[in-house]
């Protein structure tokens, strides 16, 4: 589904990514850990087509991602770290707008279904987004990802700033998505959540993927130990 082969990225002589390779299959949740500047966001940016890799290949469903090219855009969905959306629109209007941007036009009941599936309580659907909490905004972001019916979902620090309840809900939704056959690629700082939600975990340092393991192999404490030793 998602494949990185020897990805390299240089910024004016600074090496941001150095030969990163990994693979994420259907139904897998891949959590990428690492400090700021380790290369997590650069990896996501390459897959999203925001930037171009200096070397190596990024493949989605065996199609190579090219910067500024829309060919692979339809196969992926993205949930940014801060889901801002439009404060003067309601949750359902935001969803409608963004799904239309991707070329879908859903009926009202379908939109409601997406929001509900993302865990947003029904009474909030018609309220303006400026009244939403961060967790609620993120649910709209998830609904947008759902509505796109993409094979791969990228998430950037999805749990930062969420309260424990919202994090728990989010984890549940991720697991459900994985069960539905999606591939999820998540960049995060949250070790405990990574163990919780991920099927596989990678640790990055200075542009290199240093460790890669299945979550069945480790528990949270071991992972934390490994993480601290790595960086």
């Amino acid at each position: 589904m998602l494949k990185a082969i020897n990805l390299t990225k240089n910024y004016n002589g600074h090496v941001a990514l150095n030969g990163v390779s990994f693979e994420v299959n259907r139904g897998e949740v891949f959590c990428l850990l690492g400090q700021n500047g380790a290369g997590k966001t650069t990896t996501i940016n390459i897959f999203l087509g925001f930037i171009e890799a200096s070397g190596g290949n990024a493949l989605i469903n065996d199609v190579e991602v090219k910067a500024n090219d829309t060919e692979t855009k339809g196969m992926i969905a993205y949930i940014p770290e801060v889901v801002q959306l439009y404060g003067n629109l309601s949750g359902i209007e935001n969803l409608d707008f963004f799904s239309r941007l991707a070329g879908f036009s859903y009926r009202q009941d379908e939109l409601i279904a997406f929001l509900s599936k993302a865990g947003l309580q029904e009474e909030a659907h018609a309220k303006r987004l400026s009244t939403y909490s961060k967790g609620m905004r993120q649910k709209v972001g998830i609904a947008i990802a759902l509505s796109k019916n993409a094979d791969v979902i990228f998430m950037d620090e999805p749990t930062s700033g969420l309260d424990p309840k919202a994090t728990a809900e989010f984890t549940a939704i991720c697991k459900q998505l994985a069960r539905d056959g999606k591939s999820i690629f998540m960049a995060t700082h949250d070790i405990f959540n990574a163990v919780n939600v991920g099927t596989r975990i990678g640790i990055m340092k200075s542009g290199k993927l240093v460790h890669e393991m299945n979550t069945s192999q480790v528990n949270a404490n071991e992972l934390q130990q490994l993480y601290l030793e790595t960086i």
Binding site: N45, L48, G49, F50, I51, E52, A67, N68, T70, K73, G74, M75, I76, A77, Y78, I79, P80, E81, V82, V83, Q84, L85, Y86, N88, L89, E93, F97, F98, R100, L101, A102, G103, F104, G141, I144, K148, F154
Partner: protein, 483 residues
């Protein structure tokens, strides 16, 4: 997997996003009202001019008609005799024959007042020296308004609508980049260029609708209030306004293409507005004032009335009559002699005619320089688009120096025709008859549709700038990735 969303659909969604924002409605309302106020200013100004012209013309034509009745007056009564003498005696007839000349504002004058408030648009024309009369007559100009400028549709188009465009589009991209929506939008398959283009197209459409509504209202007002159907000038005015606003759209397109943050975009567009709308016009005007010198003192003294004892002098008189015979061959065999009753008056008339003829060169030079200033302003589109477009609008509205001077030269021909009607009696020493008065000319109005070719050339140069700016913006978009 779906195909990329259609561009028209994207614009439609931008529209949907646009109307959802209440401040946009407020903005639209404010700019629409200011547009209507501009129209009202043009309407009030033009209406006052037309009302003044009508009253003026009716009074002067009525007076002439009344005077001509004197030929059939009952000369046995005192009043009748007076009336008869008034129209038959040379000097009296000259004194009382006052013809009206006027310039009816054309259709486009509703949109652009231009210099219309400083140029007189109605003159009385007598037999005396044309330039003396010309430079004595003036409209009362309001210095306060000259200082502040008109609030007409031209101002609305040239200074205010760009502001509207800037407010709506200076941060098309930067606001999405700033609030973090951009990555989401882009992951939905919309590129920077498509996003910016769709919004620019939307803003252009909204601005276009504003312009069309105000313009059409203007055409309706012209037709209903002044019975003036639309003219070519109106269409060129509209085309010019569209091109000018497209120029601003291309500027904003470029500012978005530069991918600055919101405050830098605001700064750039704000400063650009000030440069184009304040600094550049002021500098250009200063340079033009400096390079093209205009000295009114050379013509202002023409308003002094040439008169005095020399007209009583027989030798001077004979010499003058001979000179006029050279200038105007039809009076070469003038029969008036120092013994004729109205000799000194004939000399007076001849002298004035000669004076006008010799002054014509100086006046033409003076006018030419003024027109040159206007032409330079109009041609300065590359560095001074706002003032250039404003000047072009004033030209289309026939409210600029060139139109005023066209009116004046036309009026000079009219003055000449007036001479041709009454001079034979004066130079061939006979009484004025009714048939002389029947020959009095009626002033011809210039066409409302006069459009100089250079207007089209200037508009083309604007299109060139627009294309260059779009090209530049395009390369900016192409050379940059989407982060």
């Amino acid at each position: 997997m779906r195909d990329q969303i259609l561009f028209s659909k994207l614009v439609k969604m931008q529209y949907w996003l646009f109307v959802k924002q209440k401040t946009h409605w407020l903005l639209l309302f404010v700019f629409f009202v200011t547009g209507l106020y501009g129209l009202y200013q043009g309407f009030a100004f033009k209406g006052k001019q037309i009302a003044t012209i009508n009253a003026f013309r009716d009074e002067k034509v009525g007076a002439i008609n009344e005077m001509v009745k004197g030929f059939h007056a009952d000369t046995t009564t005192v009043a009748g005799k007076e009336a008869y003498q008034k129209v038959t005696t040379l000097i009296l007839a000259n004194w009382y024959t006052i013809l009206p000349a006027y310039k009816i504002p054309n259709t486009t004058a509703l949109f652009a007042i231009g210099q219309g408030d400083v140029f007189p648009y109605y003159y009385t024309v007598k037999l005396e020296s044309f330039f003396m009369q010309l430079f004595k007559q003036n409209e009362i100009t309001n210095p306060l308004r000259a200082l502040a400028g008109h609030f007409d549709v031209s101002f609305w188009v040239v200074l205010l609508l760009p502001l509207f465009i800037i407010v709506l589009s200076f941060n098309i991209l930067s606001s999405e980049l700033d609030n973090g929506n951009w990555r989401l939008i882009n992951s939905q398959g919309v590129s920077q260029k498509r996003w910016v283009t769709s919004k620019i197209v939307l803003v252009a459409s909204v601005t276009g609708v504003l312009l069309i509504v105000v313009w059409l209202s203007g055409l309706v007002i012209n037709y209903v209030s002044f019975s003036q159907p639309p003219t070519l000038n109106d269409f060129i005015f509209f085309t010019g306004a569209t091109i000018y606003l497209t120029l601003w759209m291309s500027v904003l397109f470029l500012i978005n293409a530069l991918s600055l943050n919101t405050s830098a975009s605001a700064l750039y567009s704000g400063v650009l507005w000030v440069l184009i709308c304040i600094v550049s016009p002021a500098l250009t005007t200063a340079i033009i004032e400096k390079t093209v010198a205009v000295d009114n003192t050379v013509v202002s003294r023409m308003s002094r009335r040439p008169q005095g004892s020399k007209f009583e002098d027989d030798a001077f008189g004979i010499k003058t009559i001979r000179q006029i015979g050279v200038l105007r061959p039809q009076y070469r065999h003038a029969t008036v002699t120092p013994k004729s009753k109205g000799f000194s008056f004939t000399v007076y008339c001849a002298y004035h005619e000669l004076l006008d003829d010799s002054n014509k060169v100086v006046v033409r030079q003076y006018f030419d320089n003024i027109e040159k200033r206007q032409r330079l302003t109009n041609a300065s589109g590359f560095i001074n688009p706002a003032a250039a477009m404003d000047g072009i609008f004033a030209g289309l509205a026939h409210n600029d120096a060139e139109a005023n001077h066209r009116f004046i030269w036309g009026m000079m021909d009219f003055h000449q025709a007036f001479h041709d009607a009454l001079f034979p009696a004066i130079f061939f020493d006979r009484k004025l008859s009714e048939s002389d008065f029947k020959k009095l000319p009626v002033q011809k109005q210039a066409s409302f549709q006069h459009v100089p070719v250079w207007v089209l050339i200037h508009l083309m140069s604007f299109i060139v700038i627009i294309l260059l700016l779009f090209r530049w913006a395009n390369t900016k978009f192409k050379n940059r990735l989407n982060v």
